[in-house]
């Protein structure tokens, strides 16, 4: 009997004409690891909430069909029993944590479920110890890194020893290293304890190898489900954006099998009849020639760069109230016509650096010159003429009654209304159909698109984006990359703070690593990633020995095709 099952589930949010879930038939077996993939607004979060018994009890709306837990209708099971059996981890740990104290946080669910105090004490101690959190007892949760805070929310869910663990994009806010660590814990829980896991993600990069089954949602419907190795065969080429770089490369090469990890990819590379023979024989000179002849060699990026600095930071130090040193002696020059991606762990000072460039945070020491003005003397309102800033919290951009008004208001604020420009921007971000709707009624991905359109519509000289790809599905990320390159071609400078290594590898001219408030590395993506293997994109990890400058599946495909054709 499945642990949890949806029986022809169809669901409409209150007042919605279109169903958020359409005829979902899904059974999750005990001990299974199910990965739910899909773009923004595809229904992943809604489905998880039904599996947790939170919808429709919490959200309201119209429902057809049933959700069964161990064969019993979920609607008939008491909340307390559901809490004991089903754990839920939300996307943003900051919105999930209720207490300052680790033990109080982990114990909260157990207390609500009515466990005896002695049992709670034992479970709290065990869970904290099992997840490696013991050393953080007594430390306020607000002082922990994002990765650790998300681990605490996982501990709070696991303390109840649920039979089913549901996770809604739990690593969306985490840096690559913390995300890998989180998935490692999930893998152990599933493999060693047989915990049933249902994980919803937009991107399959790191979690595809963990899954027993993948379910792809598209516009509220199950578009496909099957084992992860079969995903590439189904997804290529129409849904290629769903695939992580390594399986995408091998799907493009018509490989007989679909590797899920870099290790499997390396092995398969040797087994492919033509490549297995050709690659070991490839001389250094031929390798270089192959790399140079790709359609988009990395060095062609940055050709638009003009020797015209748009921002200069001179020994910038930022110390927040309470003594936290967010930036230390940062020297940086940003030039027109370059796309710079800033990476680093949570709390490294990336967002602070962006705020300094936007004139929203003033340096405690040092000087920030943006578009020729010292930010100490030019307020954000004045800098707004030439600087476009997208903050992480995109709800702060949603003020107007409609999407069209929201985008138009940016130009009106600056005294240059332009309906044609607004229409073009709406089209660029696929917002024409929702132009008349309230932006707050849209999905997270669409909200992000509105905020981006409202930021870019005025065509600023310096574009500052804080986590621009968060909440965007892979296809929309790709489009955003293209849009940003257009701005760069037009001589604009783009600075994006991101945890999205693949995005940076694909689109950036320059990558900066920030650690502990200092610039740890600064240079072209290929060389910078090659020197930082923990942050390297998958394709570079796969082919780094032969072609260290290759970082994206398309480039890799072109090079490997040449190798096979013997033209390299």
């Amino acid at each position: 009997m499945p642990l949890v099952a949806c029986d022809h589930l169809t669901y409409f949010y209150p007042g919605a004409a279109c169903a958020a879930l359409k005829d979902i038939d899904l059974a999750v077996n005990p001990g299974e690891f199910v990965l739910i993939l899909g773009g923004s607004g595809s229904g992943k979060s809604t489905l998880l909430r039904f599996l947790a018994g939170l919808a429709p009890a919490f959200s309201g709306g119209r429902v057809r069909g049933r959700v069964l837990f161990k064969g019993r209708d979920m609607a008939e099971i008491k909340r307390r029993e559901l809490v004991r059996r089903i754990g839920f981890v939300f996307q943003d740990p900051d919105r999930s944590l209720l207490f300052r104290d680790l033990e109080a946080e982990v114990a909260f669910g157990l207390e609500n479920a009515g466990f005896p105090p002695a049992e709670i004490r034992r479970r709290v101690a065990e869970t904290i110890s099992a997840l490696g959190l013991s050393e953080y007892r007594g430390v306020p949760l607000t002082e922990l890194s994002g990765g650790l805070r998300q681990k605490v929310t996982l501990a709070a869910a696991l303390a109840l020893r649920p039979e089913l663990l549901l996770l809604d994009e739990p690593t969306a806010e985490l840096d690559p290293v913390a995300a890998a660590d989180f998935f490692h814990v999930l893998k152990d829980l599933n493999a060693d304890f047989g915990l049933t896991v249902v994980l919803a993600e937009q991107r399959a990069d790191r979690c595809l190898p963990l899954a027993d089954r993948v379910v792809v949602l598209e516009e509220g419907r199950i578009a496909w489900q099957g084992p992860p190795r079969a995903l590439a065969r189904w997804a290529w080429p129409q849904h290629a954006w769903l695939l992580p770089p390594v399986p995408r490369l091998f799907a493009s090469l018509n490989a007989p099998a679909a590797p899920l990890t870099v290790k499997e990819g390396k092995k398969l590379l040797k087994l492919l009849p033509e490549l297995g023979r050709a690659l070991p024989l490839l001389s250094g000179e031929r390798r270089e020639r192959a790399a140079l002849r790709t359609s988009s060699p990395p060095e062609s990026r940055g050709a638009e760069r003009a020797a015209r600095p748009v921002a200069v930071l001179e020994r910038v130090q930022v110390v927040y109230a309470g003594g936290v040193e967010a930036l230390r002696e940062v020297d940086l020059t940003l030039e027109a016509g370059e796309l710079v991606c800033i990476l680093g762990e949570n709390g490294a000072g990336k967002s602070t650096l962006l705020r300094v460039l936007a004139g929203l945070t003033l340096p405690t020491r040092g000087r920030a010159l943006v578009l020729g003005r010292d930010t100490r003397r030019a307020k954000a309102g004045v800098l707004a003429q030439g600087v476009g800033y997208l903050a992480q919290d995109t709800t702060a951009y949603l003020v107007a009654e409609t999407v069209a008004e929201e985008v138009a208001s940016t130009l009106e604020n600056l005294g240059r209304p332009d309906a044609t420009r607004v229409a073009a921007e709406l089209a660029l971000f696929h917002l024409e159909e929702v132009a008349g709707r309230n932006p707050r009624d849209l999905s997270l991905g669409q909200r992000k698109a509105v905020a981006l359109a409202a930021t870019l519509v005025r065509d600023p000289e310096l574009i500052l984006l804080d986590e621009p790809t968060r909440g965007l599905s892979a296809d929309r990320r790709e489009e955003l990359g293209r849009v940003l390159r257009e701005y760069v071609r037009a001589g604009r400078a783009v600075v994006a703070v991101t945890h999205d290594v693949e995005f940076a590898a694909q689109w950036a001219d320059r990558v900066i690593f920030l650690f502990g408030g200092r610039v740890a590395a600064d240079g072209p993506p290929a060389a910078t990633f090659a020197a930082s293997p923990f942050y390297a994109p998958q394709i570079q990890q796969l082919l780094g020995d032969l072609f260290p400058e290759v970082m994206e599946p398309k480039q890799a495909y072109e090079i490997l095709s040449r190798v096979v054709a013997g033209s390299a």
Partner: protein, 302 residues
């Protein structure tokens, strides 16, 4: 993965002893008028936090306290009562000639100490007691108490949202900051509506998290009932002693202080024993926290 070093362990206090201590401190800050006593009482929460190793909390508190102090001293210096010791006088546009009296300055300082002390006392209580848990399991409050505590936690969230909203709109050239008062007033309406919507969305998120974690699904248990230790008895004894000495001081006039028309202080011989009693009694937690970090015997014993 964590920022900073692990905080050194510090003793947990029973809410009764911690809140009694904070309550008596606030009472004295409200009762007393003597500037020296107010200054020392204002410093006490900071010293206690520092002894606990929470130096950052003290710095934050000090920054607030100094800002308030400056404002109060300046305001009182200009507009306070008429004293008898003239320091200097000057002309102020729209207001006219103002005379600065010593009495006004001292009174302003005393009020600044009072305010800073009260802020500090609340900061100390907040640091010593997990108020959310206290409310949640308080026998005097029902389940709605957690809702009340979480509503309070929404205030800083709302503050953060408002700041982000204003920054973002300023960076988009919104007239709130760039187009004069009238345009700014007109633009404020939609911003307030957006802020309210954000607060509502936050509240819904919070309610969903609470539901997912079983809040309201039945009678909860409490895994960590607060324990009474020897240190709580010592702190309570010190606090009660301070209360007795302090109230006696009020009754005998040993802590009185007159500001206007001239500064009149009680005799030092009457004042100092009360000062020592009050500070000695209320300083017990600071001594315990200091000793706890340095003396193993103390840690084991209390």
């Amino acid at each position: 993965m964590r920022r900073g070093r692990a905080a050194p362990a510090s003793p947990v206090l029973h809410p009764v002893s911690a809140l009694t201590h904070a309550g008596v401190l606030v009472l004295f800050l409200l009762l007393y008028a003597h500037p020296v006593l107010l200054l020392l009482l204002a410093l006490l929460p900071g010293l206690t936090l520092a002894a606990r190793g929470e130096i950052r909390a003290w710095r934050r508190q000090l920054a607030w306290g100094l800002t308030f102090a400056l404002f109060i001293v300046a305001f009182n210096g200009l507009f306070g009562g008429v004293g008898s010791t003239e320091v200097f006088s000057f002309f102020l546009p729209l207001v006219g000639r103002r005379t600065i009296y010593l009495e006004r300055l001292v009174y302003g300082l005393a009020m600044a100490f009072r305010l800073a002390g009260i802020i500090g006392a609340f900061a100390l209580a907040d640091d010593l007691v997990d108020l959310e848990r206290l409310l949640y399991f308080s026998p005097f409050a029902g389940r709605s108490s957690l809702t009340a505590a979480l509503t309070l936690s929404l205030i800083p969230r709302l503050n953060r949202s408002a700041r982000t909203l204003l920054e973002v709109q300023a960076s988009r050239g919104a007239p709130l900051t760039a187009g004069g008062l009238r345009r700014g007033m007109r633009a404020a309406g939609p911003l307030l509506a957006a802020l309210t919507e954000t607060a509502l969305e936050d509240s819904l998120d919070m309610a969903e998290v609470l539901t997912a974690r079983g809040y309201g699904s039945g009678r909860p248990t409490n895994f960590r009932p607060e324990r009474w230790h020897l240190r709580d008895s010592i702190i309570l004894l010190g606090t009660v002693s301070a209360l007795a000495v302090g109230l006696a001081g009020v009754r005998t006039g040993a802590t009185s202080f007159t500001y206007y028309p001239a500064l009149v202080a009680p005799a030092w011989a009457d004042f100092l024993p009360v000062l020592a009693g009050v500070l000695g009694g209320l300083g017990v937690p600071a001594f315990i926290f200091w000793g706890w970090r340095r003396c193993r015997w103390l840690r084991v014993t209390i």
